[in-house]
């Protein structure tokens, strides 16, 4: 076993102590590294770098014997090794990708959970240190208080927020705590892609951002939450009939709010603390939710679907276990905020089920997470992700994947759904023009006939149908699980109407457009 270990590292490691526990520990670390870092990765180095401490210091096996007393000096060598390994991995991730420029304003989305708290502590250390690999960006923190959506009491929410604020204050970075209720008042720009380098967008945003910051001066202006807003937020989430849809909806709303915050405050990068375990779960969830086309964006290191604000996931090389151990060892403060999944059963939602699938498999096959995660690394979006706004989903802003051909699975599903929907009207009805065609053009006629036949559709159904045309496949499914679209935030509805009008207008003038094109070519 020893020989295996040595050859694995391809280094002349002379380990003097043959304590079985020590060997086990090294193997574990080896496994961890093999799992989490790619083969050419600099992540391997820390293990070798700290080797001298093990060799020179007290026998490593005493770590296990003495650690019982708590703070044995030998613990320190293993601890410092782990810390160095962790820090190195974090910085290597940011350094390798060269996505964040020196002096750039970067917003950290901190939920208070283990992963984002570890990220915060890493950024804190990276900026404070006088090491050569110092981080050079200007961080800000944002936390979205989702208590309203989860149905927490006001007192409970205040307690959680004040706990978080205490953590944020010690970090010394400017921070913003925003209640999720604000998502109801977003402008329509939240669901539009803004070109990254544009001069105009930052300008108008900057004005708002500067004003906000002056007012805050490091702390935050307390955005007040009205009870009515909380209620309408709850209504919105309540209109989603399944937990799966609820979670997706919440995720979408959170994303919009984060992007809006980053824009108004002039941040160009948004760091998310998703760990590799979480991303592996997310990958499987995405596939099950019909978001296969958006896998690369949803789980990749960077995601620029919003144009001017890029999502970055610097924690994606860390497994949840590593993070938990790190937080425990170095007393990183975290705040436990219940989520929609808290205390739910295993099969309550697709997200929950994928998570328990992955964690259960991971227990017997420790390379599960890294294998899934490696897969996600290799995925790329075919379209490149830069198409005009009409070609983007209204909710998730990914490019639409619904333009599939007539013989696609999507069309087959739509047809069977239409057939199902029409059954109650009686079988006398003539079949819907069989090819059902490109759904966009025929859907209107379809709607009219349905209303004429007084079928199952309620009064808001047409609206839902209109909305559905603007969504990607997965968001369509989410919408289908919602009892009504009336509770959706105004900015989404307004934008939907605008896009509908635009497409109508386009249809009207399409003839001329074509002619023009032909003429010019």
């Amino acid at each position: 076993m020893f020989l295996f270990f040595i050859s694995e590292l391809k280094d002349a490691v002379r380990v003097r102590h043959s304590c079985p526990l020590f060997v086990k520990c090294l193997q574990k670390m080896c496994q961890m590294q093999r799992g989490a870092g790619s083969s050419s990765d600099p992540c391997r180095r820390p293990l070798l770098q700290v080797r001298p401490t093990w060799e020179v210091g007290a026998p490593p096996c005493s770590f296990f014997n003495e650690s019982r007393t708590g703070s044995g000096s030998c613990c320190l060598s293993v601890r410092s090794c782990f810390r160095e390994y962790f820090t190195h991995k974090f910085r290597a991730m940011l350094g390798k990708t060269r996505l964040i420029f020196p002096g750039e304003k970067v917003l950290l989305a901190v939920s208070g959970g283990p992963s984002s708290s570890a990220m915060l502590s890493q950024v804190q250390q990276g900026l404070g240190q006088s090491a050569q690999k110092k981080l050079r960006f200007l961080p800000g923190l944002v936390h979205i208080d989702e208590g309203g959506a989860l149905g927490l009491s006001l007192g409970e929410r205040q307690r959680l927020v004040s706990e978080l604020k205490a953590i944020f204050q010690t970090s010394g970075f400017p921070f913003h705590v925003i209640p999720l209720e604000q998502v109801l008042d977003l402008p329509t720009s939240a669901v539009n892609t803004t070109p990254p380098s544009s001069d105009r967008a930052p300008d108008c945003y900057k004005a708002a951002g500067d004003g906000g910051e002056l007012q805050q001066g490091g702390a935050l202006a307390e955005p007040s939450v009205h009870e009515a807003q909380t209620r309408s937020l709850q209504q919105l989430l309540g209109s989603a009939t399944t937990l799966t849809a609820k979670e997706e909806l919440l995720r979408t709303l959170r994303q919009h709010l984060l992007v809006h915050e980053a824009r108004t405050r002039g941040y160009s990068k948004l760091l998310l603390g998703e760990s590799c375990t979480r991303l592996a779960v997310r990958l499987l969830t995405c596939v099950s939710l019909g978001r296969g086309a958006h896998l690369a964006q949803d789980t990749g290191f960077s995601d620029c679907r919003f144009g001017d604000v890029t999502f970055v996931r610097p924690m994606r090389e860390f497994s949840a276990k590593e993070i938990a151990v790190y937080n425990h060892m170095f007393r990183v403060p975290t705040v436990v905020i219940p989520s929609l999944e808290t205390k739910t059963l295993e099969k309550a939602s697709i997200q929950r089920l994928s998570e328990s699938f992955v964690s259960r498999l991971q227990q017997d096959f420790p390379s599960t997470v890294s294998t899934i995660y490696r897969t996600s690394e290799k995925l790329q979006t075919a379209g490149g992700g830069c198409c005009e706004e009409d070609g983007r989903c209204l909710l998730c802003l990914c490019s639409l994947d619904t333009a599939a051909g007539k013989a696609s699975a999507l069309q087959a599903r739509l047809i069977s759904e239409q057939l199902c929907c029409q059954k109650p009207a009686g079988t006398v009805k003539v079949e819907p023009s069989p090819p059902a065609g490109p759904c966009c053009s025929s859907a209107d006629g379809e709607c009219g006939s349905a209303a004429g036949g007084a079928v199952c559709c309620s009064s808001e159904a047409p609206e839902k149908k209109d909305l559905q045309k603007l969504l990607c496949y997965s968001c369509q499914l989410t919408l289908r699980d919602m009892s009504s679209v009336a509770h959706l935030p105004q900015y989404i509805l307004t934008e939907a109407q605008r896009r509908k009008r635009r497409s109508l207008m386009k249809d009207e003038i399409s003839e001329f457009l074509l002619e023009e094109e032909e003429g010019s070519s």
């Binding site: 296990f64 650690s67 019982r68 613990c75 779960v281 993070i323 151990v325 989520s339 999944e341 205390k343």
Partner: protein, 101 residues
């Protein structure tokens, strides 16, 4: 006959929600014929400390996958998992790494 063992239990990462939100427990395990191991400890926790939804904490005779167990700050996988014999003044930590605790 094993002597009573006093251990320090800690729950984190959301696992404490199943224990009325109490993170730290100092407990003394009563003396019993066979020595106290992790297997017995889990049963004892389930009977005496766990307030709700045992299926979210234990699965079979082990902890639910996704809950990390540290014995004296070392991963319990290194210590023999369920077969580890508890010593007096041991420190056992349960951290949930699952979403939502």
């Amino acid at each position: 006959m094993a002597a009573p063992v006093s251990v320090h239990l800690e729950f984190g990462g959301g696992a404490e929600l199943l224990f009325d939100g109490v993170k730290e427990h100092h407990v003394t395990l009563p003396s019993q014929p066979e020595p106290w191991g992790m297997r017995q400890l889990l049963v004892w926790i389930q009977r005496n400390l766990l307030k709700e939804r045992p299926e979210l904490f234990v699965q079979g005779d082990s902890v639910r996958p996704g809950i990390l167990v540290l014995i004296n700050d070392a991963d319990w996988e290194l210590m023999g998992e369920l077969d580890y014999q508890l010593q007096d003044q041991d420190n056992v930590v349960f951290i949930s790494t699952l979403h939502g605790g």
